[in-house]
């Protein structure tokens, strides 16, 4: 009876909320539409018809040839008055095979970069009404980074924290945390690596062969309309190369002080006509970080192997099959202390987390021409994590099927819609004891379902100039039931060199299993309960309304810049509170029950500025500046500490500068400087400047040798402090200076 009453109350509450949200959405949507219509009503200037393109008539300028405008209009200085008088430059590329030549990169202007994350269709950065950044293969290579989070440090708006050697926090626009990076969705080739037990990304187990990455697209701001729940503050889409683009062999191997050793291997082949494939393997071993109190116990070792096969039985069909298996060992040391202010190392839990798993994904895409097509994707993914002393033992099996279709409607609408179903099968095993440390005693199996559908329409309001994109995603999950996530985006591109955009969206982070179901008890010694994290089945989705503005331009061939501003309003944010629980079992020692609530709202706002300058043909500068402020307000004064504790984990200011110089004689020199402001939550984490340096040399087209120095400015510095839930703490581990050498050979 009581339960029914609660349910009714909840329904009433959520109905009221939905009404309120609906009204706000509608108003904001109307404003955007009204603005767009007002602009439309202006007299349309007579525009020259763009030349027809047979291959892709729907796009305004399908494959624009930026190079034609960029290089060919310059008077070629090398051409002498009489060509016969002067020795022409050598065609060094003649030594390549035609396959190698077809892989050769030439520089693409920033606004012409390809992106698919924004609308799940091919588009360009210049035509995207969102804050989007594309990391290309060349940028990955020249950064000297060896892991995905390290690559992401260059992206504006991101906070990448290496908590210890194998633990990372990667967040967009605030809310950094060791355990819950809950507002960011990460996908690799269409497969979500967002971990459903406690809403985070387990970065220690996320990896790809970096040499075979085509690009990494990072969208800041909600992308929930097309990608689904939990893409609240951003999405990272890692896209690997097609098998046809990774033909031949590649081996990349090296080692050094922090990077103790690594080797990647790939071989790609084909059947001579319509089937291409590659197989790959990767292994690495990374050293411990620095801990003032002794061994940090955080070394990181992993091995993985996989394949990708692309089959094009007809000109318009592509069938992709890819799979991988992996095993990761990540060291961890945590400690429990009897009081939140007590001394560290009261009880310590030191062990290796062993994660293994894999995935198998298949996708069938059909291109129907005229900007229309569909794709059907299905995958299975397994993630099994246990620790050497069985403190952690859980596995997640994910089954996902997804369909999407895009087409032209009339001449002014580009519609994309899709539907998906995901099934999770979670297994938890009883936890063991380690030094009096014990986490969870339950042995259970849980099944979770998620159904979703979305539709989005890009409307051309003025041809080639003004576009309005509107869309909505509807989904259902087992925790918060129905969710809707709408968006409206306006893009104005007065010419090919610049574009301005504005958007409004709502997005939600749906509750995780841990918040709804699991009771986690930290015990130190038989019969003593130090803390218990209680589930809360009333815990609802955290929601956000985002207001964004952006401008990007390429005023000259050599210079481009991008500015994005946002104001995000959050409601029902998660708060963990130490609360007295009426019916406790026999208590021998002080107990700290922790419960999860929707107990906070708040605003965040910020500015992200990035730019690229080609100083000369052989010297390029890239820089970005990120400014962020968070103002959170707890509903209950009891939770006031949570405000500062969340705000204080994200820096106000971050700067990243990179200089890439081709020095001639096949030498490359790259310098990266990073500045990260203080994290006010920690007394022992000051602001820092880190410097990376890479020196690369190509004795031949196929061979690359490089030396990379990382974090050169000091012997060690922390990027994150000691955090935890209640009395569970993790030590502050500092990042050490490291140098490694690498050899890469292609054939």
């Amino acid at each position: 009876m009581a339960r029914t009453a609660i349910n009714t109350f909840c329904m009433a509450r959520s109905l009221t909320m939905e009404y309120r949200i609906g009204a706000t959405t509608f108003m904001a949507g109307s404003l955007l539409v009204a603005g767009a219509l007002a602009l439309c009503a202006l007299p349309t200037p007579v525009r020259a018809e763009p030349p027809p393109f047979a291959y892709d008539s729907a796009r305004e300028r399908p494959f624009r040839t930026p190079a034609v405008t960029i290089r060919y209009q310059e008077p070629p200085p090398e051409v002498p008055a009489n060509p016969a008088d002067v020795e022409p430059p050598a065609l060094e590329l003649l030594d390549l095979s035609i396959e190698e030549l077809s892989q050769t990169q030439v520089r693409v202007p920033a606004l012409e970069q390809e992106v698919t994350t924004v609308s799940r269709q091919e588009s360009t950065v210049g035509r995207s009404p969102v804050a989007v950044f594309v990391v290309t293969q060349e940028m990955i290579r020249r950064s000297g980074a060896t892991s995905i989070p390290e690559v992401l440090r260059m992206v504006p708006g991101l906070q990448v924290v290496r908590i210890d050697s194998n633990k990372w926090s990667v967040t967009v626009r605030g809310f950094a945390d060791r355990f819950f990076n809950r507002f960011l969705l990460v996908q690799i080739d269409g497969r979500a690596v967002y971990q459903v037990i406690n809403s985070t990304v387990s970065w220690d187990a996320v990896d790809v062969m970096l040499e075979d990455v085509e690009r990494i697209e990072v969208v800041r701001g909600p992308g929930a309309t097309v990608w689904g729940a939990n893409a609240v503050n951003g999405i990272i889409n890692i896209i690997t190369k097609r098998a046809a683009d990774t033909q031949g062999g590649l081996i990349s191997s090296g080692g050094g002080t922090e990077e103790r050793g690594f080797t990647s291997f790939r071989y790609g082949g084909n059947n001579g006509s319509d089937l291409n494939y590659r197989v790959y393997g990767k292994w690495f071993d990374r050293d411990n970080g620095f801990n003032a109190n002794g061994d940090a116990q955080d070394d990181w070792r992993a091995g993985r192997g996989g394949f990708r096969m692309d089959w094009t039985p007809t000109e318009c069909d592509t069938i992709t099959l890819q799979g991988e298996i992996f095993e990761v060992h990540s060291g961890r040391r945590d400690f429990l202390r009897p009081l939140t202010t007590g001394p560290d190392f009261f009880f310590t839990n030191t062990e290796d987390e062993i994660t293994d798993g894999g995935h198998l994904l298949s996708r069938w895409s059909r291109d129907l021409g005229d900007d229309s097509g569909w794709s059907l994707q299905a995958y299975y993914d397994r993630f099994d994590r246990r620790s050497t002393n069985q403190i952690i033992d859980a596995s997640i099996d994910t089954y996902d099927v997804d369909f999407q279709n895009h087409f032209q409607l009339g001449c002014n609408h580009k519609v994309v819609w899709g539907a998906g179903y995901r099934f999770y099968d979670l297994h938890f095993h009883p936890s063991g004891f380690d030094g009096g440390f014990h986490v969870n005693a339950s042995d259970e199996t849980v099944d979770l379902n998620r159904v979703s559908a979305f539709v989005q329409d890009e409307m051309t309001l003025r041809p080639d100039e003004l576009f309005l994109t509107m869309g909505i995603k509807l989904s259902h999950n087992d925790f918060s039931n129905f969710e809707y996530q709408p968006t409206a985006r306006l893009l104005w591109a007065p010419d090919e060199q610049q574009a301005a955009w504005a958007s409004f969206s709502r997005a939600v982070r749906t509750p995780a299993y841990a918040e709804h179901f699991s009771r986690i008890t930290g015990v130190a010694g038989p019969g003593t309960s130090f803390f218990t994290a209680f589930p809360n089945q009333e815990f609802d989705s955290e929601e956000m309304f985002a207001y964004e503005l952006g401008y990007r331009a390429q005023p000259t061939d050599a210079f481009s810049w991008d500015l994005a501003m946002f104001y995000n309003k959050y409601d029902d944010l998660l708060v963990r509170r130490l609360t007295p629980v009426p019916l406790m079992p026999i208590v021998v020692l002080p107990t700290f029950p922790v419960t999860t609530f929707n107990g906070m709202d708040g605003e965040t706002y910020g500015v992200e500025l990035s730019g690229t300058l080609d100083v000369t043909d052989s010297w390029q500068l890239y820089g970005q500046y990120t400014f962020l402020r968070m103002q959170l307000h707890a509903d209950n004064p009891v939770d006031a500490a949570a405000e500062a504790a969340t705000e204080g984990l994200s820096p106000h200011n971050q700067v990243y500068l990179m200089s890439s110089w081709d020095m001639g004689c096949n030498w490359e020199l790259d310098l990266i400087g990073r500045y990260v402001d203080i994290l006010p939550q920690f007394v022992d984490v000051p602001s820092y400047i880190a410097l990376d340096l890479r020196l690369g040399w190509y004795p031949s087209e196929n061979l690359e040798l490089s030396v990379v120095g990382q974090n050169l400015t000091d012997p060690h510095h922390p990027e994150f402090g000691s955090t935890g839930a209640g009395t569970l703490r993790s030590p502050t581990v500092e990042l050490q200076r490291g140098v490694y050498g690498m050899l890469r050979y292609k054939w």
Partner: protein
């Protein structure tokens, strides 16, 4: 402090240790990439016997309009086809009025102030004057459906892509090896 000085010294040392010469890095000058493609077309294309009647054992590559290659076009001269038996000879034509039969001709995308200012005009002129068996290569959007057989463009992935109009090629008794046609950068024009 010592560390910083050391670092500065390393950086300076690297600067000094390298002298200026041709940069050879993974991101290439697109002029060179496109000129190299012309070479590969000469290797992988097929022409009927006596495609150019007065060729005298040479393979003739023409450039119609202003040179966009910055010297790389001249580097084709003296290279060979058919396993070293036939030498490549290059010819330049200011406009299609000057055109003489070639095996392979590239239509410049650059503007010019003679009668043929644009690539479209050059192509139209060439189609009237050409020898039947000339492979026409262009670098301007839309030309692959207007009579050119191969059109270059740079796609968003940072590579030079090729639109190939095989029907047009075969109509003129020409063809291209499957080795080229199956490359991932090739888009067959229907």
């Amino acid at each position: 402090m010592t560390r910083n000085i050391l670092l500065t010294l390393i950086v300076c040392g690297v600067w000094l240790a390298t002298s200026v010469c041709n940069a050879q890095t993974p991101v290439k000058d697109e002029r060179q990439v496109k000129a190299t493609y012309l070479y590969f077309f000469s290797q992988y294309g097929t022409w009927p016997e006596n495609a150019v009647p007065d060729a005298q054992g040479q393979f003739i590559v023409g450039l119609l309009g202003p040179d966009p290659f910055g010297g790389y076009f001249d580097a084709l001269k003296g290279k060979t086809v058919a396993g070293g038996k036939i030498k490549i000879e290059i010819r330049r034509f200011e406009s299609s009025n000057d055109y003489k039969p070639c095996h392979l001709v590239f239509i410049s995308p650059e503007a010019a102030d003679n009668g043929e200012g644009t690539a479209e005009q050059r192509l139209a002129g060439l189609l009237k004057k050409r020898n039947p068996h000339v492979m026409i290569v262009s670098d301007s959007p839309g030309l692959a459906t207007a009579g050119a057989m191969i059109n270059n463009f740079i796609a968003a992935d940072g590579r030079v892509h090729l639109e190939i109009n095989r029907a047009e090629m075969q109509k003129q008794g020409l063809d291209m090896s499957p080795k080229v046609l199956q490359l991932s950068i090739v888009h067959l024009v229907p």
